[in-house]
C-alpha cells in the first residue's frame, strides 16, 4: 500500500463515525423515497395496461412498450405544443427580464419623486389582483385575445421577482454608478454596462423563475387562446389526458365519452415529457441559483 493510499484510508476511518453511517442511511432512504416514485412514473409510461393493472408498482416493465408515447405524439399536437411554448419562452423571457430588471434598477436607485408610491403600487398588485375578467377585458380591448401576445403580456412581469432583483441591486455600491455617471453614462448605459454584468446570479435566478413559469403556464393560455394550434405544451397535455380519462360510466352522452387509451400510461408519459427539458435546463443555472436567491432575499 502506498503512503498516499494509506493516508487517504486513514483519513476516511477518522472521518466516518457511526453517526455518519446512520445519517448516510437516513439520507439514502430519503433519496430513495424521492427517486423510486419518480422511477416508477417512468416505468409505468413504458408499460402495457395489463402489466400496470397486474402490478402498479413496478421497477422494470417485463414487456416495455412505447405505446403511451406513440399515443401522446400521434397527432402532432405535442410538437405543436413544444413549438408554442418555445415561442412563449423566446419572446416572453427577454421581455420579462427587461421589464423586471429595468424597473428593479429604477426603484433601487436613490430617492426620486414618487418612488414610494410606485413601489407601493407594484407591491399592491402582489397582494391583490384584479381578477381574470378585468384582465380579459383589457386584452380584449387591446385586440390581443386569441393571440400568443396575450399570454406573453399576462405573464411578463412578476412583482415578487422585481423585489428580489431590486434587493440585489441595493447591494451594489452606489459609488460604481456615480463613477459611471461622472464618465458621462446615462441611466440605461449604467444599467446595461455596469449593473447587469455584476448581477449574473440574480439574473440567472430570475431567468429560471420566469422560464419555469412560462414553461408551466397553462391558465392564461386556457383563458386567452382560441385555436388548438396555438396551445402551449401544458394545455396540449391537459387536453390529451382529459380526453383519455373522461369517465365513460358517468357520461350521459356519447359526446362526453373520451377516447379509449391507457390513460395512466399516457399521464406518466406526459409527466416525463414535460419534465425532461426543464430538468436539462436547471443544472446549467443551478450554481447561480442558490446565491441569487440568498443575495436577493436579504436587503443589505
Amino acid at each position: 500500500m502506498s503512503k498516499k493510499t494509506a493516508r487517504r484510508s486513514a483519513f476516511r476511518r477518522e472521518k466516518m463515525t457511526a453517526l455518519d453511517y446512520i445519517l448516510f442511511v437516513i439520507l439514502l432512504g430519503i433519496a430513495l423515497l424521492i427517486l423510486i416514485p419518480f422511477w416508477n412514473v417512468i416505468m409505468i409510461s413504458f408499460s402495457t395496461p395489463k402489466e400496470y393493472a397486474d402490478n402498479p408498482f413496478m421497477l422494470f416493465p417485463k414487456n416495455p412498450t412505447l405505446a403511451s408515447y406513440k399515443a401522446l405524439f400521434m397527432d402532432g399536437s405535442i410538437l405543436m405544443g413544444y413549438w408554442n411554448t418555445f415561442k412563449l419562452l423566446i419572446v416572453g423571457l427577454p421581455l420579462s427580464l427587461f421589464l423586471t430588471s429595468s424597473m428593479a434598477y429604477g426603484l433601487s436607485r436613490s430617492k426620486f419623486p414618487g418612488k414610494r408610491i410606485i413601489f407601493f403600487l407594484v407591491l399592491f398588485t402582489m397582494i391583490f389582483n384584479g381578477g381574470i375578467v378585468p384582465l380579459y377585458l383589457i386584452m380584449k380591448s387591446l385586440h390581443l385575445t386569441g393571440t400568443l401576445w396575450s399570454v406573453i403580456f399576462a405573464g411578463s412581469f412578476s412583482a415578487f421577482n422585481m423585489i428580489l432583483m431590486m434587493n440585489y441591486f441595493y447591494s451594489l455600491p452606489e459609488s460604481l454608478m456615480e463613477s459611471a455617471r461622472l464618465d458621462g453614462a446615462g441611466e440605461w448605459r449604467i444599467m446595461f454596462s455596469v449593473v447587469l454584468p455584476l448581477a449574473a446570479p440574480i439574473m440567472a435566478t430570475i431567468t429560471l423563475f420566469y422560464g419555469v413559469a412560462y414553461w408551466n403556464s397553462w391558465y392564461d393560455a386556457m383563458i386567452f387562446l382560441r385555436k388548438a394550434e396555438q396551445l402551449p405544451l401544458q394545455n396540449v397535455l391537459r387536453t390529451i389526458i382529459v380526453e383519455s380519462t373522461t369517465n365513460a360510466s358517468n357520461a350521459s352522452s356519447v359526446s362526453a365519452v373520451g377516447k379509449q387509451a391507457f390513460s395512466t400510461g399516457m399521464k406518466m408519459a406526459a409527466v416525463f415529457v414535460t419534465m425532461v427539458p426543464i430538468m436539462c435546463f436547471f443544472p446549467l443555472l443551478q450554481k447561480h441559483f442558490a446565491k441569487g436567491v440568498l443575495t436577493g432575499a436579504i436587503k443589505t
Binding site: P49, K50, D54, Y136, M222, I223, T239, S253
Partner: protein, 531 residues
C-alpha cells in the same frame, strides 16, 4: 393670442373627431357581411364568415378535408373555429359570455342558474318568434328535449337550443338513464352453474360473486375481484337498484304527500347500504375499492381478466370498447365471455332515473347578425334531417357507405378505419347528439346495439310495470340557489364512508342523516315553499 385661439379651435376639432370615431366604434354592431339571397340553383350568393366554438379538437389544416368543405360549400360560409378544452368548458364560456366576447355560435355545458342570469342581462341572442316554422327539423328535435319549452315558459322566448340526445332513434319510452348495466363473465357463470338472465337482483349478483370466489373458475387466484366496482359503480349498481332517490340527480323528490323529501334518508337507501356493506365484508368488493379512480374498476374485467362482474353503462359503444380491450389485452373475443344485464332491487323492482332528453346547449352571441343567425339555423336544420344525419355520421353515400340488399347500412370504409380517421373532428353536428345515430350506426356491432336497445326497453318496461323510476323533476332541476347547492353532496363518498365505519350501520346512517339535516332541511323548505 391668435395662435392660442387657432390651437383651441384645432383642439376642439380634433377632440370632436376623436369623439365621432369613438361613438362610431361604440355604436357599430357587428355588421352584416352579406345577405341570405340564393341564386337560381339554390345556393347562397354571399359568403359569410361565422365563428363557432365547441369542444371538438379541430387541428390546423383539418378544415381542408372533403367533409368540412361540403358543409362550407353547401352553406357558402367560412368557419372561424374556436376550440374549447374539455375541462375548461364552463369557465371559458362564462368568461366569453360575461365579457361580450362569445363567438357567433357555441356549444355550452348548460348550467341553469347561469342561463337565467345571461338571459336577464341580455347576453344571449333572442330567437325570432317564428323560428319554429322556419326551421321545422330543429323545432321538432327541440320539442323532444322538454327543457326548451320550460325555458320559454320562464323567459317568454327562445334564447338557447338544448341539444337532444335522441331524436328519431329513441330506444325506449320513457327514456331511462343509461347507467345501471353490468358486465359479467358468461363462461364463469356457466362453470359455476349460474343462470344467464337479462336482469338480476342485487342479491343474485352477490350470489354469483360468492360462487366465483369459492370455485375460482378462471383460476385467477389471489387477484380475483368478484365485484369489481369503484365507489361510483357500487352506488349505481348496488344502492341505486334499491333506492331510486339515493343519487344526487334525484335526491330531492316530491313524495305522494305532495311535499319534497330527501332520498338518502329513506329506509330504501339503508337497504342498499346494508347490501353494499355485506358485499364488502364478504370480500366480494375489493378491500380498497374506494381508492379506485376512473376506469380502474372496469380494468380488472376488461384488461386484467380478473373480475366476475363490473359496471359498464348502457351505450352500445361501451360494449364495443370492452370487446376491443379484451382482444387487445387478453387476446380473446369477448362475445363468448361477456354477458350484459341490468340490476334490480332486492325486492325485484327496477329502479333508476328518468333521463332528460338533452345534454348541453347551443347558444348564439347577442351581437350575431340576422344573416349569420339564419345561415347557421339553415345548417342546423339540414344537419337534423335524415340526409344531414347520414352525412354527419356515415359520410357520403356511394363513397363511404351504401344500402345493403335489405336496406341496411353498409360501410365502405377500409377494414379497421373509422369515419373519424377519414374526416377528423366533424363538429358540424352541432345540434343533434351522436347518441341518436349510434343506435343504427353499423360501425358498432349489431349484436351490441340490439342488446343496448333491449336494456333500454327492459328498463322502461320494468320501470313502468311495478318499478320505481325517479321522475325528472323540472322544479328541482330548474331551481338554483345557494341553499340547494349547499345541500349537494358527493354521495358515493358519503355512502362508502358509512359502510366502512365501525359499529352498527343503521345507527351510523341515522346519525349521518341527522348531521346532514342542518343543510338539507333549508333546501327542503325552500323547495316546498316554491310557488
Amino acid at each position: 393670442m391668435k395662435a392660442d385661439k387657432k390651437l383651441s379651435v384645432r383642439s376642439i376639432l380634433l377632440l370632436s373627431l376623436c369623439l365621432v370615431m369613438l361613438l362610431a366604434t361604440a355604436c357599430s354592431k357587428e355588421g352584416a357581411q352579406g345577405g341570405n339571397e340564393k341564386d337560381e340553383s339554390g345556393n347562397y350568393k354571399d359568403k359569410l364568415k361565422i365563428s363557432v366554438a365547441s369542444t371538438i379538437n379541430l387541428k390546423d389544416g383539418q378544415l381542408n378535408n372533403e367533409f368540412h368543405k361540403f358543409w362550407m360549400d353547401k352553406f357558402n360560409l367560412e368557419w372561424d373555429y374556436n376550440f374549447i378544452e374539455w375541462d375548461s368548458w364552463a369557465e371559458k364560456l362564462r368568461l366569453w359570455v360575461s365579457s361580450g366576447d362569445l363567438p357567433d355560435v357555441a356549444t355550452w355545458n348548460y348550467i341553469h342558474g347561469d342561463a337565467m342570469n345571461y338571459i336577464d342581462q341580455g347576453l344571449l341572442y333572442k330567437f325570432p318568434d317564428d323560428w319554429k316554422e322556419r326551421w321545422p327539423n330543429v323545432a321538432t328535435a327541440y320539442k323532444l328535449t322538454g327543457l326548451g319549452e320550460k325555458l320559454e315558459e320562464l323567459k317568454g322566448g327562445t334564447y338557447l337550443l338544448p341539444r337532444p340526445v335522441y331524436y328519431e332513434n329513441k330506444p325506449a319510452d320513457p327514456l331511462v338513464n343509461q347507467n345501471g348495466v353490468i358486465v359479467l363473465r358468461k363462461d364463469w357463470a356457466k362453470a359455476v352453474g349460474f343462470e344467464l338472465k337479462d336482469a338480476y337482483t342485487t342479491s343474485e349478483l352477490m350470489t354469483f360473486a360468492k360462487l366465483v370466489k369459492e370455485k375460482d373458475p378462471g383460476k385467477v387466484g389471489a387477484n380475483l375481484v368478484p365485484l369489481s366496482f369503484n365507489a361510483g359503480d357500487a352506488m349505481v349498481n348496488i344502492i341505486m337498484p334499491n333506492s331510486e332517490h339515493s343519487r344526487v340527480e334525484s335526491a330531492f323528490y316530491k313524495g305522494e304527500d305532495g311535499k319534497y323529501h330527501w332520498g338518502p334518508a329513506d329506509p330504501e337507501t339503508l337497504v342498499g347500504l346494508k347490501l353494499m356493506q355485506q358485499a364488502y365484508k364478504e370480500g366480494l368488493l375489493n378491500p380498497e375499492f374506494y381508492t379506485w379512480k376512473n376506469s380502474e374498476g372496469g380494468d380488472n374485467f376488461r384488461v386484467k381478466g380478473a373480475a366476475a362482474v363490473a359496471g359498464l353503462g348502457g351505450l352500445a359503444s361501451f360494449r364495443q370498447d370492452v370487446d376491443k380491450d379484451m382482444q387487445k389485452n387478453l387476446g380473446v373475443s369477448s362475445d363468448d365471455l361477456v354477458h350484459t344485464a341490468i340490476v334490480l332491487g332486492d325486492d325485484g323492482k327496477y329502479r333508476n332515473l328518468e333521463q332528460a332528453n338533452f345534454w348541453s346547449a347551443l347558444i348564439f352571441s347577442p351581437n350575431i347578425s340576422k344573416e349569420k343567425f339564419e345561415r347557421v339555423m339553415d345548417l342546423l336544420d339540414y344537419s337534423t334531417s335524415t340526409e344531414g344525419q347520414m352525412i354527419l355520421n356515415m359520410g357520403f353515400e356511394g363513397k363511404d357507405w351504401k344500402y345493403g340488399d335489405n336496406k341496411e347500412l353498409v360501410s365502405l370504409l377500409p377494414e379497421g378505419t373509422s369515419l373519424e380517421d377519414k374526416y377528423p373532428s366533424r363538429f358540424e353536428g352541432l345540434y343533434l347528439l351522436g347518441d341518436d345515430f349510434s343506435i343504427i350506426n353499423p360501425a358498432i356491432k349489431k349484436e351490441y346495439r340490439d342488446r343496448s336497445v333491449l336494456h333500454y326497453q327492459n328498463k322502461a318496461k320494468l320501470g313502468k310495470e311495478g318499478g320505481k323510476l325517479a321522475a325528472y323533476d323540472w322544479t328541482v332541476q330548474l331551481h338554483d340557489s345557494k341553499v340547494k347547492n349547499q345541500a349537494t353532496f358527493t354521495y358515493e363518498t358519503e355512502y362508502t364512508n358509512l359502510i366502512l365505519q365501525s359499529g352498527d350501520l343503521e345507527s351510523n346512517w341515522k346519525k349521518w342523516v341527522e348531521s346532514k339535516m342542518s343543510l338539507v332541511q333549508p333546501a327542503l323548505d325552500e323547495l316546498n315553499n316554491l310557488k
